[in-house]
């Protein structure tokens, strides 16, 4: 997996950011669909972000050419999920309840990045805002809000009793 900063810099960086990077990477690696898309965790001065390398298979419109809207949806949802899970003290696996994505600019066939901002991390739910950009982080191509449910003991027991 590639990183924005070089490995030497990484070692001297703040320990917390290094741990966050490792946590995100471990969580993302366990998601088969994230591996299929080729998502990778990167680090910069502002924190961790997720990189979606461009491949021909991800193009939704060959006339433009543009990335498939669903691929951006996946980048946003999976970034939100990893952000919420890494913040949870028990690293419970969150369930995505809903997501609302706004497409702001056309997504060209090139590398795309996503950064998560946790609006609220509650006991049972987490609301995450994700921003996607390509060349310039100040010119986002899409933003999304994802609501996640963190499973509680009661809900897990309910599941076990036939649902």
């Amino acid at each position: 997996m590639s990183t924005v900063v070089d490995p030497a810099q990484q070692c001297s960086g703040p320990a917390e950011s290094g741990k966050e990077y490792a946590d995100w990477q471990a969580l993302l690696e366990r998601i088969p669909y994230a591996r299929h898309l080729g998502l990778e965790v990167q680090r910069d001065d502002a924190g961790v972000l997720v990189h979606l390398p461009c491949r021909e298979a991800l193009i939704g419109n060959f006339m433009l050419p543009a990335l498939h809207g669903g691929v951006l949806g996946a980048l946003i949802e999976l970034t939100a999920r990893v952000a919420a899970q890494s913040q949870d003290t028990e690293t419970r696996c969150p369930r995505i309840l809903d997501s609302h994505i706004n497409y702001l600019r056309s997504a060209k066939a090139r590398s795309t990045f996503a950064r998560a901002d946790i609006v609220r991390q509650g006991r049972r739910t987490s609301l995450v805002q994700v921003t996607c950009w390509q060349g310039d982080e100040n010119k986002p191509i899409a933003t999304g809000q994802v609501q996640l449910l963190l499973p509680t003991m009661a809900a897990q027991q309910e599941d076990r009793h036939g649902h």
């Binding site: 366990r30 998601i31 088969p32 669909y33 591996r35 299929h36 419109n61 006339m63 433009l64 050419p65 498939h68 809207g69 669903g70 691929v71 949806g73 996946a74 949802e77 999976l78 696996c93 369930r95 995505i96 309840l97 809903d98 997501s99 609302h100 994505i101 706004n102 497409y103 056309s106």
Partner: protein
């Protein structure tokens, strides 16, 4: 993804789950993002089914509600309907169902912008006309 049917203003698409679509390694639960992609594709096709012509369109926004976890045992069906058309915008609703028991798995509402030939698209057409 396969297209099952296209009627005026309504489209049905089908997707057979594969192991790379899973949300977690030790389960066979399908990742919500796969449903999202299916809804986006079916929604876009429903715009064409509503206007009955092929013009470039762009997704403005899409809101998904995931009603229940989705196992990879059954194929998924997406039924997208064009609810309303204006000159510039198409309003789409999409239901994602489980094939067989027709259980409702997720719903989506999307807004598409019609007639959005971007600069690159126009350049492509000009190139073709010139050739």
């Amino acid at each position: 993804m396969q297209v099952v049917s296209v009627d005026q203003g309504q489209v049905c698409m089908r997707l057979t789950p594969q192991s790379w679509m899973f949300a977690q390694e030790d389960t066979n639960e399908i990742c919500t993002s796969v449903l999202y992609s299916l809804a986006d594709s079916a929604g876009g096709l429903a715009v064409f089914a509503g206007v009955l012509e092929l013009m470039p369109i762009a997704t403005l926004d899409l809101r998904m509600d995931y009603l229940r976890p989705v196992s990879g045992d059954r194929a998924l069906l997406a039924v997208a309907t064009c609810r309303h058309l204006t000159n510039e915008v198409a309003f789409i609703h999409c239901d994602i169902l489980s094939e067989g028991n027709r259980e409702l798995l997720a719903t989506a509402n999307a807004t598409f912008m019609r007639n959005t030939p971007g600069q690159q698209f126009r350049a492509g057409i000009l190139k073709k006309e010139g050739a």
